[in-house]
């Protein structure tokens, strides 16, 4: 049985403004340092068209990184996150290429790979918390993913079908379940 209450990080690039707070939070949490290269979430910037794409591990159910790892170093934590066992990892970077979005990144201190562990033990991953003004990142249970920023279809239809002329409490930046 899939635990539908297990929370995942949902990314909406349309809301990302390229402030890199998530990277700063991640590198501070995990290394006590500040640099995007020490972060497990990365924003790829296209400043010429003001477009920003955050990329972090989506903890796939059938994770190709687990399958491809020659050392069996990629494994799943109890909270669902897929991480690298750095003791076993040889740093071949196969997981990076096997991943459809290239989420695993190189740990600058060991040269092996690392991915998001959803800040084990914290109520909310730091990157999501750091994005709480923009909500480009949200931390939602799996059963809600389709109704948040991951899928806006219902929210677009809401505009069309809701009672007309009522006072709408929803903010212009969308509704957050975070």
């Amino acid at each position: 049985m899939v635990d539908l209450k297990e929370k995942v990080i949902v990314i909406d690039p349309d809301k990302c403004v390229g402030c890199h707070s998530c990277e700063m939070a991640c590198s501070l949490k995990n290394f006590g340092k500040a640099h995007p290269y020490y972060s497990r979430i990365r924003i790829t910037e296209f400043r010429d068209v003001n477009t920003f794409i955050p990329i972090t591990c989506q903890q796939c159910e059938e994770a190709s990184c687990i399958k491809v790892c020659p050392m069996g170093a990629r494994y799943r934590l109890e909270n669902g996150a897929v991480v690298t066992n750095q003791d076993a990892c040889i740093g071949c970077r196969a997981c990076m290429f096997a991943c459809y979005q290239g989420a695993p990144v190189i740990d600058p201190e060991s040269g092996k790979t690392m991915t998001c562990d959803k800040c084990v033990g914290e109520e909310m991953p730091w990157c999501v918390k750091a994005c709480s003004m923009q909500n480009a990142l949200e931390y939602v249970p799996k059963y809600m993913v389709n109704s948040t920023s991951g899928k806006k279809f219902a929210w677009e239809l809401r505009e069309e079908y809701k009672p007309k002329g009522i006072k709408d409490e929803g903010s212009e930046f969308g509704f957050s379940f975070g």
């Binding site: 349309d14 403004v17 390229g18 402030c19 890199h20 707070s21 700063m24 939070a25 590198s27 501070l28 949490k29 290394f31 006590g32 340092k33 500040a34 640099h35 290269y37 020490y38 790829t44 910037e45 400043r47 010429d48 068209v49 003001n50 477009t51 600058p108 918390k129 750091a130 994005c131 709480s132 003004m133 923009q134 212009e172």
Partner: protein, 661 residues
């Protein structure tokens, strides 16, 4: 070193050499950061009477101790040099301290590359750009980039170096052609506009500085730093002003400004435009042209705008900006109701690399002078100026950047234009040669005093005058007590918030805000962080983060002394050229000509009250009545080396005053 990197990079373009200096903890304690490091270099490595376009003029880029960390709102770069734009009543060839502050990501990557500050001197014999690849510094040919606009050149440099993570600060054609108000732009569209730093960069034949930084910053106490930073971030997130900034950007003052009639429409002749809120303003812009907001480094607010024209004349065009000042100075200042036109002009100004305020001022001055018959077609080379003529304005902007025809004259900055043509000096709204932003100094008295007392020429951000609007400083009595001491606070608080138009408590307000704003600049944080609209944190939150990041045991009092030191050294840069009290004032227009329209119709500044306000402000700083910093004060601030320069400056000032009699 934590927080800091502890290195200063010096590049000499004449010799083609780069050297690295270590910054000692004692030195950093003295000057703290960003603006402080720069102001020290600019004062001590220039001299009275120096030509700002002299190769020896040090062009400095600095970051603050919080830049590039998890601290919110800390992504600012300060760019400083002796300013070619500003001048004194002693003569338009008298120059002083110039600096400008820009957002974006440049300062962050400067630190990641391993430097707190770059100081560029010398002049290359052909166009070049500097590529800083961590420890490897190379000076590369930029002939093929010369003449290219900001966005195009940024893209070309990134493609040439083959790494999308390279950050570029550069000048546009205006800087290359030594337009006096050319700006420096980084991260495609974050501009440092004021005081002509782009002109200094152009005079060095330096097109750009590109940075790749791969080294991390460390914190002295990461755990506590994180705790404090989260608290501050939560405060920012829930603050009403941050939410408003998010929706409207820096435009949030526009509507209110028009309602009380303080906007600088029609070259500062009226503050009120009927019905403008229908076609103009932050929400109108957001509705029509805003594509997606953009943020500076580590800023959760993201007030930056990005324009995309879905339809209309410019359909398909997109560019960064405009902020409120760009759209006001290229719109309402030209008496135009046309938001689309203003936004388009701001895009052009950005691409050409000019300061939108001074560029708008050059246009509006020409329009008023032409209307009044002070200049004719013969002066302008056949161009007919009339109010709200956006097409002519567009043409003239290109002429300024390329220094063609009449544009060549305007490129010198309004004060020098008026001097050269021999007319219209009375309709250049400026202090020390730098034009006012779009707030009328006759009504908003805090702005009025702030403009005049600012250490870089007319400016609302040095004496962060927005604090004067009711509601901004209201809940901050405790802060004021800390800043001014209990006795002064009583004076200040008694009738606060006072009337907008009264000077009564404005000297204290200016003094207090100036110091807080300077703390923000020292930390490398945004002006919205400290001494701004309530809720984005106060200086204490940031100084706490500073201590936790750097591990310096530096109490707030010591940081305040450092802030005072920085303000003083900048002021001293002016004083040593004899630019003192005579320049801390407004043009006659604001004393003689009443406000034309709006709720404050008929208001003007009273000369006696103004003199009183000047005196009060000087007293708070511990300056004498001529506006000079006293020897005692300089000794207190450990600036003994400045004392002989003050003597020299006083002599020049008194000679000037004698002549005036």
């Amino acid at each position: 070193m934590h927080g800091w990197v502890g290195n200063r990079l010096r590049v000499d373009l004449t010799e083609g050499k780069a050297t690295v200096e270590n910054l000692s903890p004692q030195y950093l304690r003295k000057w703290v950061g960003g603006r402080g490091l720069n102001s020290d270099i600019v004062y001590h490595e220039t001299w009275e009477g120096m030509d700002p376009l002299d190769p020896a003029n040090p062009l400095c880029f600095a970051s603050g101790p919080l830049t590039g960390t998890f601290s919110p709102l800390a992504g600012r770069t300060t760019v400083s040099a002796l300013s070619p734009m500003t001048c004194s009543y002693r003569g338009t060839n008298v120059h002083g301290h110039g600096d400008t502050n820009m957002g974006g990501q440049f300062a962050t990557y400067l630190k990641y590359a391993g430097y707190d500050q770059i100081v560029v001197k010398g002049r290359a014999d052909k166009p070049v750009y500097i590529f800083i690849d961590d420890d490897k510094i190379s000076i590369r040919d930029a002939s093929h980039l010369w003449g290219q606009g900001v966005k195009v050149a940024t893209k070309n440099i990134i493609e040439e170096l083959g790494d999308p993570e390279i950050k570029v600060a550069l000048i546009g054609p205006a800087g290359e052609n030594l337009v006096k108000f050319a700006c420096v732009v980084n991260t495609f569209s974050n501009s440092g506009g004021r005081t002509g730093m782009g002109c200094v960069m152009g005079s060095k034949n330096l097109k750009a500085i590109a940075i790749r930084g791969t080294k991390p910053l460390t914190y002295a106490d990461p755990v506590k730093f994180a705790e404090e930073a989260w608290m501050l971030r939560e405060r920012v997130r829930t603050s009403p002003s941050a939410i408003r900034r998010k929706a409207e950007g820096t435009w949030d003052l526009f509507d209110a400004g028009n309602a009380i009639g303080i906007n600088a429409n029609k070259n500062h002749s009226t503050g009120y435009m009927k019905g403008i809120e229908e076609t103009y303003g932050g929400l109108v812009f957001a509705d029509k042209y805003l594509f997606r907001r953009k943020a500076c480094w580590s800023c959760p607010v993201a007030c930056g705008r990005y324009t995309y024209f879905k339809d209309g004349k410019h359909a398909g065009k997109h560019f960064g900006g405009p902020e409120m000042e760009a759209a006001c100075n290229l719109g309402t200042r030209l008496d135009s109701y046309d938001l689309e036109g203003a936004v388009w002009l701001s895009g052009i100004v950005n691409e050409l690399g000019m300061d939108c305020i001074s560029a708008g001022a050059a246009l509006s001055w020409s329009m008023e002078a032409y209307e009044k018959g002070l200049i004719t077609k013969e002066d302008t080379g056949g161009i007919e100026f009339k109010w709200a003529d956006m097409e002519t304005s567009e043409k003239v902007l290109y002429m300024i950047a390329n220094r063609e025809g009449y544009g060549d004259i305007l490129a010198e900055g309004n004060s020098r234009v008026a001097e050269k043509l021999g007319v219209g000096a009375g309709i250049v709204p400026h202090c020390r040669g730098l034009e006012h932003i779009s707030v009328d100094p006759r009504i908003a008295t805090g702005f009025s005093l702030g403009y005049a007392m600012s250490t870089r020429g007319s400016d609302h951000l040095k004496n962060y005058s927005c604090n004067e609007f009711p509601g901004c400083a209201m809940s901050r009595k405790d802060q004021i007590v800390d800043a001014l001491g209990p006795e002064l606070t009583e004076v200040f608080w008694k009738d606060f918030p006072n009337e907008l138009t009264s000077f009564a408590t404005k000297p204290q307000l200016c003094y207090w805000s100036e110091r807080n704003k300077c703390v923000a600049d020292l930390m490398g944080t945004c002006c919205h962080a400290i001494g701004s609209w309530g809720g984005l944190g106060d200086w204490r939150a940031y100084t706490t983060l500073y201590r936790l990041a750097t591990g310096f045991d530096m109490p707030d009092e010591e940081i305040f002394v450092a802030a005072e030191r920085v303000v003083s050294i900048e002021r001293a840069n002016w004083l040593r050229s004899g630019s003192a009290r005579q320049d801390d004032t407004h043009i006659d227009r604001f004393f003689d000509e009443p406000v034309a329209d709006g709720p404050y119709k008929g208001l003007k500044i009273d000369r006696k009250v103004w003199a009183w306000a000047q005196d009060e402000y000087y007293k708070l700083h511990g300056w004498d009545e001529e506006g000079f910093i006293t020897d005692v004060k300089l000794k207190d601030l450990n600036l003994e080396e400045v004392i002989p320069d003050m003597e020299h400056g006083r002599k020049l000032y008194r000679e000037y005053m004698e002549q005036q009699k």
